[in-house]
């Protein structure tokens, strides 16, 4: 039993970061309809900036903030420079453009910081507390706490603020947002900036655990995407739940099934959820009746 609890607890802590990645992914998707495969690379950029600022002698907390800002900037620049002409184009154009951005970010990181792996110290001690036979470290607690605070603030912002409501309206019909007194362009920019900040934060948070390598971003993008889809594309709460569910599932699968196939088990679960959910929602292969 304690093994089970330990696997779940460790999964929750690890999954919180996937959730943050997924939340940013989801927010950008919800507003613009773009699936951003550079999301993980923005996270890595944020992490590398955190590394550098920390290296200049700034406190870790300040360095992490710099990483968040860098992520936000990267998101905004990407929206302005790359994605803006692509909203009306087919899904695949947007996807491949973000793949292009991912390639660019990776090579920029490699040019600036080199390919040698780098590392960052944790925000808090990684010496664990022992609760019963379950270990839980302050570092994990900080990670979880930051995720909860940030995602709560985000959900609140999306629900209550004018910009947030605009984003939700945007998901339905970009024409409607004009009624909120906001231009859709500004909303898109805001959404990507916030998504970038979330990515930067996730990067800064996850680096102490995994270290920095230029191409790590790809697997972070995939994790964020999986979390967002499992939680339901477009929902911030869903993404957090999805991220945690994936991590817990993987942990349980590697303890009780097979470590080698843990990812496969997680993917299988996602596909099953998708099949049930999507069929339940749509009933047929065509989403809605042609509008009259």
């Amino acid at each position: 039993m304690s093994t089970f609890i330990q696997a779940v607890v460790a999964g929750i802590a690890a999954g919180a970061v996937y959730g943050l990645l997924g939340a940013g992914f989801s927010l950008a998707y919800k507003t613009t309809g773009i699936i951003n495969f550079a999301h993980g690379d923005i996270a890595m950029l944020g992490a590398y900036v955190t590394f550098s600022v920390f290296g200049w002698g700034a406190p870790l907390f300040v360095a992490a903030l710099a990483g968040v800002v860098a992520g936000g900037l990267a998101g905004a620049v990407m929206e302005r420079g790359v994605l803006r002409p692509l909203y009306k184009r087919p899904l695949v154009a947007g996807i491949l453009a973000t793949v292009g951005v991912s390639v660019v970010l990776q090579s920029v990181i490699q040019l600036v910081w080199g390919s040698l792996p780098l590392t960052l110290p944790s925000l808090a001690s990684s010496t664990p507390w022992r609760i019963g036979s379950v270990a839980f470290s302050p570092a994990q607690a900080v990670l979880l706490a930051v995720t909860i605070i940030v995602s709560t603030a985000l959900i609140f912002a999306v629900d209550r603020t004018r910009v947030g409501r605009g984003m939700r309206a945007c998901a339905q019909d970009s024409g409607v947002v004009v009624l909120f007194g906001i231009s859709p362009e500004r909303l898109y920019l805001t959404a990507f900036a916030i998504a970038g900040m979330l990515a930067g934060l996730a990067g800064a948070l996850i680096t102490p655990t995994i270290g920095l390598t230029p191409s790590r971003g790809v697997s972070l993008s995939v994790l964020g995407f999986a979390a967002a889809v499992l939680g339901g594309l477009g929902s911030v709460t869903g993404a957090i739940v999805g991220g945690i569910a994936i991590a817990v599932l993987r942990n349980l699968a590697s303890v009780y099934v097979s470590a080698g196939y843990a990812d496969a088990v997680a993917y299988l679960a996602i596909v099953l959820v998708l099949l049930v959910r999507v069929r339940g929602l749509l009933g047929d292969d065509l989403e809605t009746v042609r509008s009259v």
Binding site: L91, A93, L96, S107, Q110, L111, A264, Y267, L274, L282
Partner: protein, 374 residues
């Protein structure tokens, strides 16, 4: 009986009904026709009819004879790889532009074909049989994505194809006793077919060129057939296809299966080319590269996919290796191309012809007559 009769009879008597208005009507259509002149001139020929087979055969014969003399060493090897990628990309273009699926599993489908070939081919199973089975295996796995994917929307399909791709990777990596795991597995015997020794880059080129042309021919045939047309209609407007009596689900699964055959064959040919297979080269990056080939080619004929496969393979083997700057240029080029050439390479000649057509129309003044008929 009554069904066909109805349209038959009405056709005969239709003309007189609107006789007084015919002139104005004709003028309107002439105007419309003129407006679309450039597009008509740029049309890809009569759909449903292929370039004469003889021309193709001569082209293959020429390529097979001439190219191995002109290209050698590393470039010939890269050319061979480009042909392999072209086959897989043509398959993906069927999945994508006819099936309507954005799949990131094409490289994994290649892996299935590749492993089938490398594990089966040996003293007991001949090369042609093993290659056919590779194609068949690719078809089955790819059809699986179609069966599952027909139930979900496109964004979710990407994740489903991703899940399949990752699972195939995991199986290959973990089933070490069969696949050799990450260390990969070597070819058991040298392959030869039609008197060609496929271990030699020149003979390999001859065979893969023939194979690629067969794939191009089949893909173009599919596209030109009524089934291909029904699939194209379905990607644009599902209701239109339904209203025409197209069994959408079945057709889309067929598209994924056919795309999978080509990927399976390509995977098998990778195994022959390298004499070795490992799981790593069938990863997400290869799938994305194939998707790029398809998108950059535009949704045109298989021939343009071959061109973009050539360009991207040589780029990825040359520019992309050894330096980060090369990768940077590649990434930026990618973004620029996607933004500024919405229809890919296939669209570039059309853009050019459109400009020419406008120019020509202005000069000729009344080009509308032959514009309609061509």
């Amino acid at each position: 009986m009554p069904a066909t009769g109805s349209s038959q009879r009405s056709e005969e008597a239709a003309a007189p009904a609107a006789a007084p208005l015919a002139e104005e009507h004709a003028a309107r259509h002439a105007r419309a026709a003129r407006r679309g002149l450039a597009t008509i001139l740029g049309d890809r020929g009569v759909p449903g009819r292929q370039r004469p087979l003889l021309t193709r055969l001569i082209a293959v014969a020429l390529l097979v004879q001439v190219v191995p003399g002109l290209v050698s060493g590393p470039n010939l090897l890269t050319l061979n790889l480009a042909c392999v990628y072209a086959m897989a990309a043509i398959g993906l273009s069927i999945v994508f532009s006819l099936g309507g699926f954005v799949s990131v599993a094409q490289a994994a489908v290649m892996a299935v074909g590749g492993y089938i070939l490398i594990l089966l081919f040996g003293p007991t199973v001949g090369f042609p049989v093993a290659l056919l089975l590779a194609g068949l295996g690719g078809a089955l796995v790819s059809a699986l994505t179609g069966i599952v994917g027909a139930r979900v929307k496109s964004h979710y399909f990407i994740l489903i194809s991703l899940a399949l791709a990752e699972t195939i990777q995991l199986v290959i990596t973990n089933a070490t006793s069969v696949t050799g795991g990450a260390n990969g597995v070597g070819l058991k015997a040298p392959a030869s077919v039609l008197g060609l020794d496929l271990g030699l880059p020149t003979d390999y080129f001859r065979f893969i060129t023939i194979l690629t042309f067969v794939v191009i021919y089949l893909a173009d045939s599919l596209r030109a057939s009524r089934a291909g047309l029904a699939l194209r209609a379905q990607t644009v407007d599902g209701y239109l296809a339904l209203a025409a009596g197209v069994a959408i689900g079945r057709y889309r699964i067929m598209a994924t299966a056919i795309g999978g055959v080509f990927a399976g064959l390509a995977g098998g040919m990778v195994a022959i080319r390298d004499g070795y297979l490992g799981p790593q080269n069938f990863g997400l990056d290869t799938s994305i590269l194939l998707l790029l080939m398809v998108v950059i080619a535009g949704t045109g004929r298989a021939g343009s996919v071959v061109v973009s496969a050539l360009i991207l393979t040589f780029l990825s083997q040359g520019l992309l290796t050894l330096t980060s700057t090369g990768t940077l240029i590649y990434g930026m080029g990618l973004i620029v191309l996607i933004i500024f050439a919405p229809e890919g390479l296939g669209g570039l000649p059309r853009l050019a012809r459109g400009a020419l057509g406008r120019l020509g129309a202005r000069r000729a003044g009344t080009a509308s007559d032959d514009g309609g008929e061509r």
